[in-house]
Every structure is written in C-alpha cells, then in structure tokens.
C-alpha cells in the first residue's frame, strides 16, 4: 500500500512539473503583449519598454519560467500586471469562495446520486427506475445556468428564502456564507447528480450480474442484503472516478454560475485576467487548477486502493 502511494505521489510530482512547463509555453506563445495592452494603443515605445522592464518581461523565457516556478514553490505567485497586487492574495480570496462552493456542490450531488442510483438499480425496469432515469435525462439535458435562473426566480424572488446573488464573505459567519452559496451549489449539483446517478445505477447493474452476487444469494442473503454487502463497494470504483472528474470541473467550471449569482470566484477571476492579458494571473490560476485536478486524481487513486485489495497488493 505504501509503495503504491509513493508511486502515485511520484507520478503526481512529475505531472505537475510537465504541466507547469506546458502552461508557461502556451501562455507565452499567445499573442498580445501585456505592457502595450495596459498602456493602450497610443503609448510611447520607451514607456512600454520601461513597463516591460518593470514587469520583468524583458528577461529571457528560461529565466522567467524559473523565477515563476521557484516563486510558486515559496508561495509567491508574482504581481498582477493589471491590479498591481500579489497574485497569491487574489487567488486566495477567490479560492475561499470557489473551493467551498465546489465541495458543497459535490456533497449535494453525491447525496442525491447515491440513493437515487441505488434505488433505480434495485428497481430496474420498474416504475421507480423509469422515473429516476427520466429525471436524470432532464438533469443532463438542461444547462445549469437555466436551473440557476429558475432557482433565483423561485427561491430568491418569489419565496425570498435566499438572496439572488452576491457573497457576504466568511467574516459574516459560516451560516451566512453557506446560505449565500446554497442556490449556486444546487444549480451546480443538479446536472452533476444526474450524471452520477446514471453511473451509480449502471455500475450497480453490472455488479448485480456478477457471479459473486449469485454466490451471495445462494448463501441465503436477500436481494437487498446482497446489494448492500457485496454490490455497493464493488460499484464504487467507477463512481469514484466520476466524482474525481466532477470535482475538478466544479472547481474551475463554475464561471457561468458565478456570473449568474455574482460570486467572486476563480472562474470569474480567470475570465477577467484573460480579457486583460494579465498573463501572470492566468498562468497561476491555471497552474492552481492543474494542481487541484492532479491532487484529486491522486486522492482518487488512493481511494481505489482502499476499496480494492488487488491494487494494494500489486505494489
């Protein structure tokens, strides 16, 4: 088990190194010079040159890559070209919205999907299954911003249970913060839950057809006992994969939802930074997201090993 974890960790570090290089190169070759963009089209050539020197853009690419990477390792992500504030601070502020939102949404989606998937699998082909599958079809098809608008219409404008948008900050208290994130989390969670339900159901149905489920029934387990004791853990493996993918998506992919609810999250930050050619912010946010995705994958790999003894023994 330890060796398995070490191996996965090694591959995590390698992936991060490769990713940082790729991100740096891609952002470098993208057209548009931040200095001339910041100063406008009428700027003097020597003013642009002075700003380039100040931003460190006149250094060679290798030097800039190294200083970027070593800076990040020390927690220094550089200074935003547009806002002239440390990138680390900007990201940290936004992360405190995006991370809780992603976790909240994922928790909701899992809480919906597990019971719904198990229910549908246990009643395969009957009314309950068809109802669940119909609902998931809808959930997959309808875009989350439409859900978001409906939620605002119903719960914010008509019922007035929640605010229509904005985020008071965690200083206002955990309760207030969670309250503000509830509608966005639901809007994000519903389509994810629909996908996860389908994965859970089909994983369970695959397992229900396995020989060892028949062995379990031959021992005297009821259908339900066999499902819970032998089916669920085996079905977890594909489900974990999807949960890992969904978390990465929720962290970065919430731009539209952040826009609808006017939340100061990472998605909006990166969107603004791209429009402003704030390369250093773009690089850092993308690097952070890559870090998150790779870390989540690492955790999913560890979770596999916890679920499946065959992985534990195979080094």
């Amino acid at each position: 088990m330890l060796r398995y974890a070490l191996k996965r960790l090694l591959s995590l570090l390698l992936s991060l190194a490769v990713a940082s290089l790729v991100i740096f190169l891609v952002v470098e070759v993208a057209p548009g010079d931040p200095a001339s963009f910041m100063l406008g089209v009428n700027a003097q050539a020597d003013t642009v040159a002075a700003l380039r020197a100040e931003l460190g853009l006149d250094q060679g690419q290798v030097a800039r890559y190294l200083s970027w990477v070593t800076g990040m390792l020390g927690g220094d992500f550089g200074t935003s070209y547009t806002y002239r504030t440390p990138v680390a601070e900007m990201i940290a502020d936004r992360l405190w919205v995006s991370l809780p939102l992603a976790v909240y949404a994922l928790a909701l989606s899992t809480l919906i999907a597990f019971p719904a998937g198990i229910y549908a699998a246990a009643r395969r082909g009957r009314g309950g299954d068809m109802a669940v599958m119909g609902a998931t079809q809808l959930g997959v098809a309808v875009p989350n911003f439409w859900f978001a608008m409906m939620l605002v219409l119903i719960f914010a404008i008509n019922l007035r249970w929640f605010g229509a948008g904005g985020f008071p900050g965690w200083e206002a208290g955990i309760g207030a913060g969670l309250h503000a994130l509830t509608l966005p989390a639901i809007a994000l969670a519903l389509p994810q839950a629909a996908i996860l339900t389908r994965v859970m159901r089909s994983a369970l149905l695959d397992i229900l057809g396995e020989d060892f489920m028949r062995s379990a029934r031959a021992k005297g387990l009821s259908r339900r006992q066999a499902l819970w004791r032998h089916g669920l853990r085996n079905a977890l493996i594909p489900v974990l994969t999807i949960i890992g993918l969904q978390f990465s998506f929720l962290l970065a992919g919430a731009i539209i939802i952040e826009q609808v609810f006017y939340l100061p999250g990472l998605g909006r930050l990166v969107f603004q930074a791209i429009s402003a050619r704030d390369l250093i912010v773009v690089e850092s946010v993308v690097m952070l997201l890559v870090f998150a995705v790779i870390t989540v994958n690492f955790l999913v790999d560890l979770a596999y090993a916890l679920v499946d003894p065959r992985l534990r023994s195979r080094t």
Partner: protein
Amino acid sequence: MTLLDITNLSLKIGGLSVLRDVSLTVDPGEVVAVTGESGSGKSMTALAVMQLLPERARTKGYVTLEGTQLLEQSEAQMCAIRGRSVGMVFQEPMTALNPLKTIGEQVMETILIHQAMPRAEAEVRTCEVLERVGLPQDRFPLSRYPHELSGGQRQRVVIAMAIALRPRLLIADEPTTALDVTTQAQILELLKDLVQEYGMGLLIITHDLAVVADLADRIVVMRHGEVVETGQTQWLLRNMRHPYTRMLFAASNHQVTLPDTPAQHPLLEVRGAVRDYKTPRESLFGKPGRYRAVNNVSFTLHRGERLGLVGESGCGKSTLTRAILGLEPLQEGEIRLAGTAVTPDLKSAIRQKMQVVFQDPYGSFNPRHRVARLVSEPFHLLDDAPTGSARADLIAETLTAVGLEPEDGQKYIHQFSGGQRQRIAIARALITRPELIIFDEAVSALDVSVRARILDLMAELCSAYDLSYLFISHDLSVVRTITDRCLVMQRGEIVEQGATEEIFANPRHPYTQQLIAAAPVLPEIPEQNAHSQQA
C-alpha cells in the same frame, strides 16, 4: 426418505418453455448427476431448486425438499433455506467470490447470515470448514483475498461457503469445468468425501460424461428441457435405452481416422525457444524481475503432420503459441517456418503461411461483417489476393469445404450456432491455403456432439488439403484421436514428446503419468450401442 423430490417441474421464461415435466429425486448420501448438452435445461433445474431463477421465470410442478414445497415458499423463507438446507457451488471459481472481501469474511457470512451461532464460534467454524476443504490456516489464513488464490483453491473456498452449515443438499453446477484435470480430480474427490462424511445429497450438473460415470450413483440425461433417461449409473451405462444417451456417450468418445503422415520434411522448427516476462519491480528503483514462461523448448513439426500440445493452465502453451505466430519476441532460441525465421516483424507473405483457430466461437468474429468478409479476412496478407468472381468462388468453395452453404456468406455471424461458427473460423484459416494451422483449444467450448462433427471435419480436411497443424488442448481424449505426435508441457518446458499413441499407452514422464491418471475416463460402451448412432 427422499431428500429432494422434483416432480413434473415445468419452467417458462417469457413465452419460452425451458423445462417440461422434469422429474428426479436425490436421496441422502446419494450423488445424482444431471447431464446433457448446452440448452438442455440442466442448470435451470438447479436454479429452480434454489429459486434463483431469472425474474420473468414462471414455474409449475413440485420441488420438495424434506417435505417442504420450495415453489410455495416466500422469498424470505427461501432466504432461510438457501445456504442452510441447500448449498450451491458454481462453475466459474474465478468470479464466484467477491474480490473485495477476504475468504474468511465470505465463508463466515454463510454462518452469520443465518444467525446459526455467535461471531466467535462462527470464526472457529470457518477455520474448521476451510481446513476441511483443504485450505489449512497456516497457509490460507482467513485474511486472504480471492485474488491471492488459484482457481482450484478458490473453488475450495466456494465449496466451504456452501457446506459451512452442513446443508442436507449440495448442488454443484459444473464445479470442475473451468479447472485443470489434476485439480478437477482433487475437487471431485473432495465432493465425494463430503457427501460420505456429512450424509449430504449431491446434485451435480455436468456436461462431462467421464466425470458423471466416475462419480454419480444415478444419472439423469436431459435434452431440450426434458429428462430423456434416468437410472443407476452402472445400469444406465449398460443399457442406454434412449438414442440420445447413446449418441452422447459415443460422441464423448469420438474417434477419427487420420490419413497417414507423409515423409518427414520439417515445416515448423522451434529450437531452444525462451520467452521471459518482466515481473513488477521488487522495490521502487529496483530491477524488474523475470518470469520464464517458456524455457528452452525445442521441437519440429513436419509437413503433413498433426502435432498435439497438452498441458495445464499456466504451463506456457499460450505463450509458446503467440511466439510461434510471431506475435511476441523470443529472448533466446529461434522459430523457423519453412526455413524462414519467425519474429514479430514477420513479412505478411510468411505470415500468410500460418493461420489460427481460437477457442471462443463467439468472441472471435466482428459481429458487423458478413461471413464472406470474415472468411476472406486473411486475403489482406496476400499481394495478389483474388478479386471479383475468383474471390467469390474461393469463398464459396471454402465454405463448402467446411460443410456450410455458399449462400451462408451473405449472413451475419449471430445467425450461426457455436459449432457452425467454429466451421467458419476453420474456413477463415483455410482460405489462403496456409501451410500450418494452429488450433488453440478450438473444440474446447463445444458440446460433445458438435465437437465430434468438428473433429470429423478436421479429419476430412486432412485428407483433402494435406493439413499440417498444431493442436493445443487441455483435453487429453481429443488430443489422442486428432494428433499423430504429441508434446507434453509443464512449467514452460516440454517434458515428454513422441507418437501420441505411445505417450498415452506408455507415459514415461511422471507428469504425463499424473495427467493421464487424473483425467476421468469413459467406461467401455457395449458394442451394440457404440455404432448405432450418428454424431
């Protein structure tokens, strides 16, 4: 008193009638074997006793276990009966155990689910049961996972699960079909001992008549969902009233006559072949280990010769086959086909001289292509592949040669039975007139009657096309009739080779002797029965 009494059991799934008026009985301490070919309903009969039938199944008739009408029990009542009064062992030990739970947990579950005893006692009983089925605690502690055990050991765990509460009746559905002959012999011995020791009734389902004849007190022969004949084993073997029973026994022991082998010209030469696999690293930065799957194998297959290769699973047969086909490189030694070295970068002109027929007639065809296209697949190896009417003629001729109609070329593969598919596979191998055909367990998945006809076909083709082939199989009785010479492989090495008849009649190597002794044999069938049928 009768333990299990099945009377006029009928079963329909959807509109399809699967069982019709099946009646049989099992007494305590008695071994009753249900036999028949696939689709005969033997497994469904077993599942009907367990009431583990597919959801849409409808049953009629009586299944009585010690006076209890099983068909009238509620699902909850059946749960109390399964595992406690009736245990069941299945065919596929590799998948019959939950891969995520230890063998201890899984055996103990039978005891705990029926609340037969407190947990501490259940653990002691679990150890005893595992010990009894031949898995002693010092080598197989309760904390072992299924993937750490071999197929035979897993089947022992499955048996332990089934007998943990000493049920009155044990049902075994093809319990040894997936196992090697030596393992099969051990598992059958174990089942026989358990029946005696516990006084259980054993209902064993098997297609293998040699097993049946060896083990059973009574035989029930089924066909198309009906019982065609039943009787005490010795009596039934002597009398065999029903033509189907006679056909079944004759087909199991089917003999073919091969044409004489021509003068010896080497076709396939294997010299000192070694195939190593890398095993996982011992430490993070250590060197990967090596596993020698094929060790210094040498043999020659002559033109027109039919050579057999036998050995148990894991002995290296498949690895050797892949090397001969030029799919994997050798680490040492060489393989030459008609004088040309065989390597993974083999020219297609050479590759075309070798074709292969695989075991699984269901998995080895693309379901979306018509048979004509499937059969003509090897043409892509030819630079001057026939086109137009020449191509169509050749396809038609080859299909006819394997006993199909030329029109069959327009059909899709799902329209054919397993035996017909294997004929198509042979046609595909034959169409380029290869010098060598490799039959890799090519008849192992077939019913005995179908197998007999495919063996006949092979013998015919030997005369018509002067075939040379390498016939790889774990089934000794088939190898004995369909090959001239034979290689016996164990742990990557050829331990014995020689004329097939000579090896079977007079095995010299201890491993060969062990294999032949372990293989169950059909009793002699009285003469008047043997020839009165057509396979």
